[in-house]
C-alpha cells in the first residue's frame, strides 16, 4: 500500500512532465516543426539567415500596429505606395512611378503597378481606400491612424473629432478615392513636401478588403490569417505571443527578382549578452540592437554595425508652474552646465554623439541643394559652457530673488536613464551653486502620463521621427502643440514653423531656412529644451551577409536587398 502511494506520486510526476514537455516546446504543432526544419536547413542552404528580435510582434494588422517590431515585420511582408531603399531614399512600391501632383500640391494621383497579393488577388486602389478608412474609423481606435492623418489627409481631423464626440462619421469624407482599379487619388489638407515619405509608413499600406472581411475577428491573428503583397510572406507565426516566425520569399511579389533571400528565421531574445552569445554560437546571424555595456566588447570588430539614429534625447524644462524655469537665464544655465562630451564618452560609450541642436544630424537633406539640414545652423547651438552657465545662473537667481532652487527630475526607470540621471544631477548640482535635483525614476507609462499632466520640472525625454523631414521635430514645440507639454510659447517660432507648413511648403530652400531660424529661437534665444545626445545604434551582423539594410524612420529594417555572400 505504501509502495503504491509513492508509485502513484512518481507516476503522476512523470505523466505531468511528459504532458508538459509534449505540449510546450513549441514543437507540438506543424509551425514549430517547420521552424525546426527551417533552422536545420539554414546550415545547408545558401540564401537563409537567422535573426533575432528584441520583442514579440504585437500586431500584424497594419492599421493597428504601433511599435517598431510590428512596423518592421509589416515592411518586409507588405508594401505601400512607396518604400525606403538602402540609401534612405523613397522609391516606388505599389505606385507605378511618380504621382501626378496638382499645382497647389494638395491632390496626388497615383497609378498602381500590376501587383498581386499572395493569394493571387490583384492589388487595387480600393485596397488603399479600405485600409485608410479603417485606420481613421473611430470604431477601430487605431493608435497611429489619426496621428499620421489628422491635419494631413483631408477630412481626417473632422472624422476623429466626430468620433471623440461619439457622433456618426462618414468615412467617405476622407480624402482618398479610387478613381478606377489602378488609380488612387489622395487629397491633402495642405501641401506636404514629405508626403511620399509618409507613404512608406505601414499605417498607409493597403489591405485586401475581401480577405479582411472574410477573416473577420481572426484577421491578422496568425500568419494564416494574413495576405502579403511584399517581398516576403510570414510563416510559422502563431500570433502575438509567438516568439519565433519565418519570412519566406513571396513568389507573387512584383519585384521578386530582386529578392535574394529565401528564408529569414526569427527568434525573440531580449537580453543583449544572451543575443551576443547566440550570435557567437551561430544560432543567430543578426542580433537586435545591443545595450551600451555590450558594445565595448565588440569595438573594432567588423561584425559590429553601427549608425547614427535620428533620435535625440533632451531635457524638457516645464515652464507651467515653476518660477525658476520660467526664467530664460535659469534655463540657459541648466542647458549649458552639463558636460555632454564627457557624458557620451564615459556614461553611454556606445557611439552616441553630443547634440547641440534640436533637429538631428545625418537625418534629412534638402531636395534642391542636397545639403544636410544641419549645415544651415551647424552643431553648436547650445553647447556646454561652464562660464556662461554660471553667469546665466547668477543672473537668473537674482531675477527671481532667491539663492536656492529645487527641481524634480523625471526620467524612465531603465538602466541608461538611471545612469544618465545620476550624471545630470551631479553636473547640475556641482556646477550651479544652490541647485538641488530630486530624481524621480518611473516606468515609461508613468512618465508619459506625468508628461501629459505636466507633473514635472525637468524631464529626460527622447524623440524619434516618423517621417523624413525636419518638421517631425520642429512642430513639437508649437504653442499648445500636442507634444509641447511644457508651456513653451514663442510667437516668432510658431510663425516660422507655420510658414514652413504653408506658404513655404513648396519652396524647399526657404522652408529649410525658416525651420533653421526656428531652431535658433528655440535653443539660442529661449533655451526651451536642453539637448543632450543623439543616439547610436549598434548590432552584430554575420560577415557572410550582404546589404544589411536599416532605416532612419518608420520600419527599422528591410530584407528585400539583403543576401548571403
Amino acid at each position: 500500500m505504501k509502495k503504491s502511494k509513492y508509485f502513484l506520486l512518481l507516476a503522476l510526476s512523470l505523466i505531468l512532465s511528459m504532458f508538459l514537455a509534449a505540449c510546450n516546446y513549441g514543437g507540438g504543432d506543424s509551425a514549430g516543426d517547420e521552424k525546426e526544419n527551417g533552422a536545420d536547413e539554414g546550415k545547408a542552404a545558401a540564401q537563409e539567415i537567422k535573426a533575432l528580435e528584441s520583442a514579440l510582434i504585437p500586431a500584424m494588422d497594419s492599421v493597428m500596429a504601433q511599435d517598431t517590431v510590428s512596423f518592421s515585420t509589416l515592411n518586409n511582408v507588405n508594401e505601400g505606395l512607396y518604400r525606403l531603399d538602402p540609401n534612405q531614399e523613397v522609391v516606388p512600391g505599389m505606385a507605378d512611378g511618380e504621382p501626378e501632383v496638382s499645382e497647389d500640391g494638395t491632390v496626388y494621383t497615383f497609378k498602381l503597378r500590376d501587383a498581386k497579393w499572395s493569394n493571387g488577388d490583384p492589388v487595387t486602389a480600393n485596397d488603399f481606400v479600405y485600409a485608410w478608412q479603417r485606420a481613421i474609423d473611430p470604431k477601430n481606435a487605431s493608435p497611429y491612424g489619426p496621428y499620421m492623418m489628422d491635419g494631413k489627409i483631408k477630412g481626417a481631423a473632422e472624422i476623429s473629432a466626430a468620433g471623440a464626440e461619439k457622433k456618426e462619421v462618414d468615412l467617405n469624407t476622407l480624402g482618398v478615392k479610387a478613381i478606377d482599379e489602378k488609380t488612387l487619388e489622395v487629397t491633402l489638407e495642405r501641401p506636404i513636401p514629405y508626403f511620399l515619405s509618409l507613404m512608406a509608413f505601414p499605417t498607409f499600406y493597403p489591405q485586401n478588403q475581401k480577405f479582411v472581411e472574410e477573416q473577420g475577428a481572426d484577421y491578422a491573428k496568425t500568419a494564416e490569417n494574413l495576405v502579403y503583397n511584399g517581398p516576403f510572406a510570414l510563416s510559422g507565426w502563431d500570433g502575438s505571443t509567438d516568439s519565433s516566425w519565418t519570412y519566406t520569399k513571396n513568389k507573387e511579389y512584383w519585384d521578386a527578382e530582386t529578392v535574394k533571400l529565401e528564408k529569414v528565421q526569427w527568434n525573440v531574445l531580449q537580453e543583449s549578452q544572451a543575443a551576443a552569445n547566440a550570435f557567437e554560437t551561430g544560432e543567430a546571424d543578426i542580433t537586435p540592437k545591443l545595450s551600451s555595456d555590450i558594445v565595448p566588447q565588440y569595438e573594432g570588430d567588423e561584425r559590429l554595425v553601427k549608425w547614427l539614429e535620428p533620435t535625440i534625447f533632451w531635457l524638457k524644462m516645464n515652464q507651467k508652474d515653476n518660477e525658476a524655469l520660467q526664467n530664460v537665464d535659469v534655463r540657459k544655465a541648466i542647458a549649458q552646465a552639463i558636460n555632454k562630451e564627457d557624458f557620451v564618452n564615459s556614461v553611454l560609450n556606445n557611439g552616441s554623439i553630443v547634440a547641440n541642436y534640436a533637429v538631428p544630424n545625418e537625418f534629412v537633406k534638402n531636395d534642391e541643394t542636397g545639403k544636410d539640414f544641419r549645415e544651415i545652423n551647424g552643431n553648436e547651438l547650445l553647447p556646454y559652457n561652464l562660464d556662461e552657465a554660471k553667469k546665466a545662473w547668477e543672473k537668473g537667481l537674482a531675477a527671481i530673488g532667491t539663492d536656492s532652487v529645487e527641481l524634480r527630475y523625471l526620467t524612465d526607470d531603465t538602466e541608461t536613464a538611471k545612469k544618465t540621471a545620476e550624471y545630470i544631477k551631479n553636473q547640475l548640482e556641482t556646477n550651479l551653486t544652490g541647485l538641488t535635483i530630486k530624481v524621480e525614476s518611473v516606468p515609461f507609462s508613468v512618465r508619459l502620463d506625468r508628461e501629459n499632466s505636466q507633473d514635472y520640472d525637468l524631464q529626460l525625454a527622447g524623440w524619434g521621427p516618423d517621417y523624413l523631414d525636419p518638421m517631425t521635430f520642429s512642430d513639437l514645440w508649437l504653442t499648445g502643440g500636442g507634444n509641447n507639454k511644457m508651456d513653451y510659447s514663442n510667437a516668432k517660432y510658431d510663425q516660422l514653423v507655420k510658414d514652413a507648413q504653408t506658404t513655404l511648403a513648396q519652396k524647399p530652400v526657404e522652408r529649410y531656412e525658416a525651420l533653421a531660424d526656428a531652431e535658433k529661437i528655440l535653443l539660442e534665444e529661449d533655451a526651451a529644451i536642453a539637448p543632450l545626445y543623439q543616439r547610436s545604434s549598434n548590432l552584430l551582423v554575420n560577415d557572410k551577409i550582404d546589404n544589411f539594410t536599416y532605416h532612419l524612420v518608420g520600419p527599422e529594417y528591410s530584407y528585400k536587398w539583403t543576401s548571403v555572400k
Binding site: G26, P138, S160, A164, G239, Q273, N277, E283, L448, N452
Partner: protein, 309 residues
C-alpha cells in the same frame, strides 16, 4: 474527505474573489497611461481609445463589468497586443513557464534531497562541508548569475547545450539547472537539518538495533519524517517557479508568462494584469491544497478535517 475538499474549494473560491476584487482596485490606482504611444495621441484620439476600452465608465461600473465577464470566463482583450484575448495569452505563455518550473523543482528537489540525506548521514565530514558549500552558493547566488555562467561556459565555450530559445528538451537543460539551484539548496539544507534530528530519535535507534539496512533507515524511516517541512517550503516555491522566473526566461529567450506579467504592469495593460494575477492566485491555492493533501500521504498520522472519519 469529500466534506473537507468541498469546504476547501468554497474557501478557495472566496479567496479568489477577494484577490480579484483587491487587485482590480489596486490596479486602478497604479499611475500611468495604458496607451504606449500616448505622447502622439491628440485629445480626440485619446477620448476614442478610452471609449473603446471602456475606461470612460466609473470604476465601480468597470468592476461590475469585469466580474460579470469573469464569471462568464471572459478575461477581456489585451491593450498591448492587437485583438488578442487574455485567455489566449495566458494559455500560450503558461506552458513554457510551467514546464521549466516543473523540471526545475523536480531536478532541484530530487538532488536536494539526495544531497541533504548524504550530508546528514556523513555529518561533519568533507562530504557534509561540500554539500553545505553547494547549498550556500545555491541560495546566495542569484539564478541569473548561474544562467549567465552556464550560458557562456556550457553553451558558448563547450557547446554542449543550446544557449537560448525553446524548441525541444535539450533547450531546457541550462535554464532548468539555473532555476533549480535555489530549490536544490533550500531542500538540501532542510533535509539535512531534519534528518540530523530524526536520526537521533528513538525509533531510528530501534531500527538500527533491529539490524535494518542503511538504505532502509535513511530512506524509509528517517527521510519520510524529514520531508514534511520540506514540502511546506517547496509548495509556494513550486508556484513561483512554475509561473516563471522572469530573468531566466529573458536570458534564455523562453516565451513564458513572467515577461508578460511584468510588461503588463509596466504598460498598464489592465486586462493582462488581472488575468495573470488571477491565474497565479488559482495556482497558489491549488498548490496549497495539494501540499495539505500530501501531508496525509507522507505521514498517515496527519489526518484531514480534524482526523475524524
Amino acid at each position: 474527505m469529500v466534506k473537507y475538499l468541498t469546504q476547501r474549494v468554497i474557501y478557495m473560491i472566496i479567496t479568489l474573489f477577494l484577490i480579484a476584487t483587491f487587485t482590480f482596485f489596486l490596479m486602478k490606482i497604479i499611475p500611468g497611461t495604458p496607451f504606449t504611444n500616448a505622447s502622439k495621441l491628440s485629445e480626440a484620439q485619446l477620448s476614442i481609445m478610452i471609449n473603446k476600452y471602456g475606461l470612460n465608465e466609473p470604476v465601480p461600473v468597470q468592476y461590475m463589468n469585469y466580474i460579470v465577464n469573469l464569471l462568464k470566463g471572459d478575461l477581456g482583450v489585451s491593450f498591448q497586443f492587437d485583438n488578442v484575448g487574455v485567455t489566449e495569452i495566458l494559455m500560450n505563455s503558461i506552458g513554457p513557464s510551467a514546464t521549466l518550473g516543473f523540471q526545475a523543482i523536480l531536478f532541484g528537489s530530487i538532488f536536494g534531497i539526495i544531497l541533504g540525506v548524504i550530508s546528514a548521514l556523513r555529518q561533519n565530514t568533507w562530504v557534509d562541508y561540500g554539500s553545505t558549500l553547494i547549498a550556500v552558493l545555491g541560495k546566495s547566488i542569484p539564478s541569473f548569475v548561474f544562467a549567465g555562467l552556464l550560458q557562456y561556459y556550457i553553451g558558448v565555450k563547450l557547446g554542449w547545450f543550446p544557449v537560448a530559445f525553446w524548441r525541444g528538451p535539450e533547450y531546457s537543460v541550462l535554464p532548468t539547472i539555473a532555476l533549480a539551484m535555489f530549490p536544490l539548496a533550500t531542500t538540501a539544507r532542510f533535509v539535512r537539518t531534519e534528518m540530523v534530528e530524526v536520526m537521533e530519535s528513538d525509533y531510528i535507534t530501534l531500527a538500527k538495533a533491529k539490524g535494518a539496512s542503511w538504505f532502509d533507515i535513511a530512506f524509509k524511516h528517517a527521510l519520510r519524517n524529514a520531508l514534511i517541512p520540506v514540502i511546506t517550503v517547496l509548495g509556494p516555491l513550486v508556484v513561483s517557479l512554475m509561473t516563471g522566473s522572469l530573468v531566466i526566461e529573458k536570458i534564455f529567450g523562453i516565451p513564458g508568462i513572467g515577461e508578460q506579467f511584468v510588461k503588463s504592469i509596466t504598460v498598464n495593460d489592465y486586462p493582462v494584469i488581472m488575468g495573470t494575477t488571477i491565474l497565479f492566485a488559482v495556482l497558489f491555492v491549488v498548490v496549497i491544497l495539494i501540499v495539505d493533501l500530501l501531508y496525509g500521504i507522507i505521514d498517515p498520522r496527519i489526518r484531514l478535517a480534524g482526523g475524524k472519519k
